[in-house]
């Protein structure tokens, strides 16, 4: 199994980790790579005086975008000469149908860990509207990924989706760990946490190690990141937003924290 179509999202030519990782994945899987330069315009203004200023600001933003596009094209050519490059304009609060449309025609969306509202919106579009998985890269990531994969497992549809979508990576891994946090034996089976999913993955001919972990006063996010460091993981696979976004904004949550701060690449589906 291999990825056939990758979509890499960049805000600027400086997002090196996206170029590196998308290029490496495309080479390893023999996948076609498309890059989408996401250009932020100021939000539209309709009031007459404001509209004139907005038009000027847009023109300036488009000029800058044009310069960036040239540098993005040059960098892209180095990592994958056959890759396609497109530009998509957006603004805060924009309708994301066009972006969702782009994403759903790929097997995997790759973007840097979100650092601003536009990027966070793109992350949510990927998770909630595209039906495709998302790979988030830490800005300074240079190494290969997917040699040692930590699957953060709960028996939920989001985690099941992420695991299924990550199959091309899991099949190529040297080591795969199923990590459960404060897991309890399921109500529906007499097996311990992670045992059933490990058996399912084993049917693909992949050996996994089950690592049940107790929080012991730490947050779930902290527990997962510390465990990932202990096992030397270079990729986390997890379900995204098993709890509602609003709840995570208000109370904090695993998806929000890991997507914004994880020092490792994170592969997620919703």
């Amino acid at each position: 199994m291999a990825f056939k179509d990758l979509l890499a999202l960049v805000r600027s030519p400086r997002q090196r980790s996206v170029f590196d990782i998308a290029g490496a994945l495309a080479a390893e899987h023999g996948a076609g790579l498309s890059m989408l330069h996401l250009v932020e315009l100021p939000a539209p203004v309709t009031e007459p005086f404001g509209e004139a200023i907005w038009t000027e600001l847009c023109a300036a933003a488009r000029d800058r975008a044009g310069e960036q596009l040239a540098r993005i094209a040059a960098r892209l050519k180095q990592c994958d000469p056959g890759a396609e490059l497109r530009q998509l304009e957006t603004f805060t609060g924009a309708d994301d149908e066009a972006l969702a449309y782009e994403m759903m025609h790929a097997d995997l969306v790759v973007m840097e860990r979100p650092g601003d509202a536009i990027a966070r919106a793109a992350l949510e579009t990927a998770l909630f509207k595209s039906g495709r998985p998302l790979l988030l890269t830490p800005p300074d990531w240079r190494a290969p990924l997917g040699r040692r994969i930590m699957v953060a497992w709960t028996p939920t549809r989001e985690a099941a989706r992420a695991l299924a979508d990550a199959a091309p990576l899991i099949e190529r891994a040297e080591a795969v760990f199923i990590v459960t946090v404060d897991g309890r034996p399921s109500r529906f089976a007499e097996t311990g946490p992670g045992v059933d999913i490990a058996a399912h993955i084993a049917r693909r001919g992949i050996d996994v190690e089950i690592r049940p972990v107790e929080r012991g006063g730490r947050s779930i996010e902290q527990t997962l990141l510390e465990e990932a460091e202990t096992m030397g993981a270079d990729l986390i696979v997890m379900g995204g937003y098993g709890h509602s976004r609003l709840r995570e904004v208000v109370f904090g949550g695993v998806t929000r924290t890991l997507s914004e701060t994880s020092p490792l690449p994170v592969f997620m589906s919703h």
Partner: protein
């Protein structure tokens, strides 16, 4: 790409179509086959004679369910290797989570299409709570090829994108795939219809696209 872990869900003993489909899939992709028999128990009746009446009714229902399960078990033994037998027998409110738990540990769920309300509830549990794809067979389906000529109903929505990804083993093995859109408009200033983009993105080798 292949299906390696198949779950067949039946709500009556005669899930013939579901098992026929499972056999066809298992013949094409050697896989682990599990059969899940789902049965509903009545809610407790809260009235003067309620408890006793409920106990009588439930005893009869449990006996019927056990007989059904025996038949399912027998049917599973005909798979090579023999399929794994599982069962869920619980109250209406608890059925969805139990079904979802089983389904999310499979690559593909196979069921028979029927108007039975329990069947409907089980299908919804698979579709909304398991994250895994569902293959629905007409109740009179018994044998034949699946996936030689495939029609993809494309809507440019995430559900369709997911379905196409999950159907990859079938799409890759098809002789012909037709992508159909209904009343679609070219999106976002593009001049080509959504169909062509969808067809191109499926990247199916050696299959003629219609």
């Amino acid at each position: 790409m292949a299906y390696k872990d198949l779950l067949t869900i039946v709500t009556r003993a005669n899930g013939d179509a579901a098992f026929a489909v499972a056999e066809t899939i298992a013949a094409r992709w050697p896989c682990h086959v599990a059969g899940l028999h789902v049965a509903e128990l009545p809610q407790m009746l809260a009235s003067a004679n309620g408890a006793e009446l409920w106990a009588d009714v439930t005893t009869k229902i449990r006996a019927d369910n056990a007989a059904d399960r025996a038949q399912v078990s027998e049917r599973l033994r005909k798979f090579d290797p023999p399929g794994e037998m599982r069962s869920v027998e619980t109250f209406a409110g608890a059925i969805e989570d139990a079904v979802a738990y089983n389904a999310l540990h499979a690559d593909l769920v196979v069921m028979e299409r029927s108007n039975d309300p329990l069947n409907g509830a089980v299908q919804e549990a698979v579709l909304f709570k398991s994250g895994r794809p569902l293959l629905l067979a007409p109740s009179d389906w018994r044998a034949g090829r699946i996936g030689r000529r495939i029609l993809v109903a494309w809507s440019a929505k995430r559900e369709a994108a997911r379905a196409i990804a999950d159907a990859a083993p079938l799409l890759e093995g098809a002789e012909q795939v037709a992508v159909v859109t209904v009343d679609a408009k070219p999106p976002f200033g593009a001049s080509s219809p959504p169909i062509l983009r969808a067809a191109a993105s499926m990247s199916i080798c050696g299959t003629s696209m219609v």
